[in-house]
Amino acid sequence: MLTEGLVVVHECLGAADQRLRRLVLKGPIAKTAKAGQFVAVLVQDSSIPSYDPLLRRPISLAEISPDRDEITLLYRIQGRGTEILARARCGEQLSLMGPLGQGFSLPEVGELWLVAGGIGVFPLYALAQSALDQGLNVRLFWGGENQSFLISAGLPAWQALEIPLNLSTLDGTLGERGLVTEQLQGRLSELFGHTKQENTSSPQIRVATCGPKKMMQAVTELCVNYAVPVQVSLEERMGCAVGACLGCVCTLIDKAGTLSHKKVCQDGPVFRGEEVVWDGLC
């Protein structure tokens, strides 16, 4: 749907040099949205139409509160579009399209492992909340640059969920030093040993991941190796955000080896990891 979101909170998230923002919008999207979906926000300085930037910006839903009709977007100021978005003030209305795309699917029972790289953690927060609501066990693996980043990007909110956290930083200032995938690998081999096996032992584990492409690819390879189902949330440059322009395709491969293109905006952004062709060319 095309709708407006009233800015009720718009604040700096964590340390200023991290350039992260938290934006809470009031409007009807919360009623129908699910974790993994996104909105396409029109970024314009005040109400004067300008065409630079021209296109809307896709931002994931980091929190969905249907009871308060609120959605939370967490974003990093990246370029001109998000720079302009950051100027939106409380009381302003932002034009939104959404909820867009297919979200994550939750297992009925068992354990959900979230694997996040950097700000890829943002959409996983909404997923953690709905998984906990449903009574699933949730664990977060999260890797970032350093302690300042993790704390700025929402670590306190994750701690408040009281779930097990496996943190890693590149410089070792918080959690383990190294990559998030090393932590995931460690935990998988602890549970299942070093050889590939059918994941039939209880509790059943499902993985959902979001972050840099290379990281999601490595997570997928690990999961496939341990026969753990994995969902990945992809990013691509978007034009229409509704499946009409074919600007945002990704390449999938099915069991028979047939390649096809899917639209990240409409068929995704969440896909089954084992179906994704990571180098993208075909």
Binding site: M1, L2, L42, P49, Y51, D52, P53, L54, L55, R56, S95, M97, E236, R237, M238, G239, C240, A241, V242, G243, A244, C245, L246, G247, C248, V249, C250, L259, H261, Q266, G280, L281, C282
Partner: protein, 306 residues
């Protein structure tokens, strides 16, 4: 005055209003259904199809420029056969005029598709995208060579009973020459303009931004070029024109009508505001009322007179 007649006639088809959507920006008609009811539109133009399925170019396929969008989708489409089976049946039921768009890499490609698309298919018209390389002629674009353009349009006209719209490329020295060629080929109407060839370079990576290096520029950035071309063609050729290129507001649309377009088409503007077509229809109506015009048809080409 509350009764402005918005209907318009184009290549023998009556449109409920002069507002259409552009090929390649409106999918196969269903994608925007939640945002803009099809029954409100004058018509829609479907994504360009080719005889065989195409996967198109690699990503990134999109890059923004000030007020513009570069795309290098590369004509990704399901191919003629799947189009006939999976899409055409739905198109039949759509409550608006549906224009199919065909692209080819040889004369035979165009003929094969035109033959399969007739009045009884439920389509209102056939738009022939000639902004493609002719692989049999060393990649020379159909749309930049008047002789090839005339030949393609004539070949299409010979095998289909649908009204035929020639969609012209702006990447030419003389748009009027191309419009005349399409007219000689027997085109019933003209669509202009297609995208302008452009590129961007990522200065950090020091590489072209688009995987395909070049892309077609659309959006408000190209509007003045499009208005100029519509104006020139309207002066020289007696065929109805669908004007397009950077329309996002009703004021833009009125500019095209005044320049000589019988109808206008919205492409990239849908991405910015998926309700732009609805607002533009209302805006055109309001403009006619304000200027004492009883029919939108009276607006067409008005800027040329006097």
């Amino acid at each position: 005055m509350d009764c402005v007649d918005l209907t318009t006639v184009l290549a023998g088809i009556t449109l409920r209003n002069p507002v259409v959507t552009c090929s390649g920006t409106y999918g196969f008609g269903e994608e925007y259904a939640d945002y803009c009811p099809l029954e409100a539109l004058g018509g829609i133009t479907l994504k360009g199809i080719t005889p065989l399925p195409r996967l198109g170019n690699s990503v990134p396929r999109l890059a923004e420029t000030p007020a513009g969008l570069l795309n290098s989708v590369g004509l990704e489409n399901p191919g003629l056969e799947d189009f006939l089976v999976s899409y055409l049946p739905k198109v039949r039921k759509m409550p608006t005029a549906v224009i199919a768009n065909i692209s080819g890499f040889s004369l035979e490609d165009y003929v094969q598709m035109a033959r399969a698309l007739q009045v009884d298919s439920g389509l209102a018209a056939l738009e022939v995208n000639i902004s493609c390389p002719n692989v049999k002629h060393g990649g020379m674009h159909f749309g930049t060579d008047p002789h090839s353009a005339e030949e393609v349009i004539a070949a299409v006209k010979a095998v289909t009973n649908l009204p035929t719209i020639a969609k012209l490329s702006p990447n030419v020295t003389d748009i009027v020459e191309m419009a005349r060629a399409a007219q000689r080929g027997g085109a019933d109407a003209l669509s202009l303009i297609n995208t302008l060839l452009g590129m961007r370079i990522d200065i950090e990576q020091q590489r072209p931004l688009l995987a395909n290096t070049f892309g077609g520029l659309s959006g408000p950035a190209i509007r003045p070029v499009a208005v100029r071309m519509v104006w020139q063609v309207a002066e020289a050729v007696d065929l109805p024109i669908i004007g397009m290129g950077g329309i996002t507001t009703w004021q833009d649309a009125v500019e095209f009508l005044l320049a000589g377009a019988t109808a206008i088409s919205i492409g990239t503007g849908n991405f910015v505001n998926p309700q732009a077509p609805l607002e533009i229809i209302q805006g055109i109506k309001g403009y006619c009322e304000k200027h004492g015009l009883t029919s939108v048809r009276n607006l067409v080409g008005l800027a040329h007179k006097g």
